[in-house]
Symmetry: C2
Subunit: 302 residues, 2 copies
């Protein structure tokens, strides 16, 4: 089933201890879309400026990604982010943020985007996420991401959003900030009580945790020694997870767990190179092969 | 098969954000022995002072723990540690360390301890660990623990120890310190190249990683919301792991992985109360029940 994502489309400049890239393809909706496109057709909604390189659009179209929801703002400039990773490749500093068109224009969904049954609201101002969701008619599954900025500065809006989504995806540090609880098991359960039917806490190199009314579990990250650039790992995770759910067409507990696993595995490829470079060079078969390795890793005789 | 542990026996004073305990039973060899005693008979070697409460010895003897290797040093005082956990219950400050007899007397193994096939050298000065190992005749499996102090101040001795052990257990921060590599997958592999046939990196609330020539994998911690006191978690992990291996009597890859799982699960109980309080109140059946939960958590349909 088709999957709609509303989020940022960006040009990223990334500095790691060993290398750097300038103005490469990035943004939450881009990483999400590409990751999800291994599993299902994706409809991407976002805004860019006149400086947006059209080859990026063509590149996304070469996958199962419908870019008709990508608005080009006349005279506007594309969202730009510049960040620097510390030696542990987990912590990062944001060096520059130029919101540009991202701060000025709310996405307007094309007609056929509005009937998408699976919806992902990538990180953004909660009021913008709600405005986007208001345009969708009868969705089957709505999942949102958020970040520390909105937890700190738009708490009421966030609580309003939580009551409208089925699932929420956020980082470990954000979960602690939102609840004031350092124990992630308690934090996850408390966030679920704020509205979402399920909550996923992303722990970066340590994997991800899942919380529903019936289940609490954690799955580890796939161990990888080649971490080149973690940018987009979290959005790839969400893309892999939602992509598989949309392909599958249900959200039974076992489907959700397998979706978590696919999210973890897509993200494990994303970090192996800058931007989408690594994902460009893998196929669904590579994901299936890594899934088998992952399942072997997690199984032992009874 | 019997399992020998040589390590510290201590009286711990522990401060957490919510509670505190004074002079409670602790020490690496104590946590290890109790954890291992769910699986096999244990021979405990260590030194204490005249102030050692004999009820602790009787308590250990009430399990399958042979305390005839516990030397009471006349006129000596028992090793004491005082520590304080920060709000995240993961980081801690050491407030006081009184090595007392621990710094003065090397363990002398009783005759029947020397023929133990399974040996664990708990954290200690590498030269002391080597002196203990020199007393053991024809062991089948020797595993050691270490810490940052020895990595910094006794590097050559540590390298000598590494060439004599089959396995090494250490923390994530220690693995990074030892290799200068922030990527734990590379760090684990590099430590294995220093001598041990297998290496286990403990990641606290994030589980543990395993490295051999043939395998690299990670298992997550069992998610628990009730973290009262993490003291002894790492030693309980090692005790559960080695205890199961000694019970099993082999160290095939599948046995090692299941041993890792038992280690993780015993540790998940240890942290639920101070000292050995939680472990006192569980049985092997509780471990088996949690193992089933853990396996269900880690499995999903193919």
């Amino acid at each position: 089933m088709p999957l709609l994502v509303i989020g940022s489309v960006a040009l990223d400049s990334v500095h790691t201890p060993h290398d750097a890239r300038e103005d490469v393809l990035g943004g939450s909706a881009v990483f999400f879309s590409y990751a999800a496109s291994f599993f299902t057709s994706v409809r991407l909604s976002g805004v860019v400026g006149e400086d947006w390189p059209h080859e990026h659009t063509r590149f996304l179209q070469s996958r199962r990604i419908d870019t008709s929801g990508l608005q080009v703002v006349p005279g506007g400039k594309t969202f730009r982010w510049r960040g620097k990773y510390l030696a542990n490749m987990n912590d990062r500093e944001t060096l520059e943020v130029h919101l540009n068109v991202l701060g000025e224009v709310d996405p307007v969904l094309p007609d056929d985007f509005r009937r998408c049954p699976y919806v992902f609201l990538a990180n953004g101002a909660p009021q913008t996420q709600i405005k986007a969701l208001d345009q969708v008619v009868g969705p089957r599954l709505v999942v949102a991401d958020t970040m520390d900025l909105w937890i700190r500065e738009a708490h009421e809006d966030l609580m309003q959003l939580f009551r409208r989504v089925d699932g929420l995806v956020l980082n470990d540090s954000e979960a602690k900030l939102l609840t004031g609880d350092e124990n992630l098991v308690r934090a996850g359960q408390r966030i679920r009580e704020m509205g979402p039917k399920f909550v996923v806490i992303k722990k970066g190199e340590h994997g991800a945790m899942f919380f529903s009314q019936y289940e609490t579990y954690v799955l580890p990250a796939f161990p990888t020694e080649q971490v080149v650039d973690p940018t987009g790992a979290g959005d790839s995770f969400a893309g892999g997870m939602m992509g598989y759910l949309a392909e599958r067409g249900d959200f039974e507990p076992q489907s959700l767990k397998k979706a978590m696993a696919y999210g973890i595995l897509v993200a494990s490829f994303t970090v192996e190179d800058f931007s989408l470079e690594r994902l460009k060079n893998i196929t669904r078969e590579d994901l299936e092969f890594r899934l088998q390795q992952y399942q072997r890793m997690l199984s032992f005789e009874t």
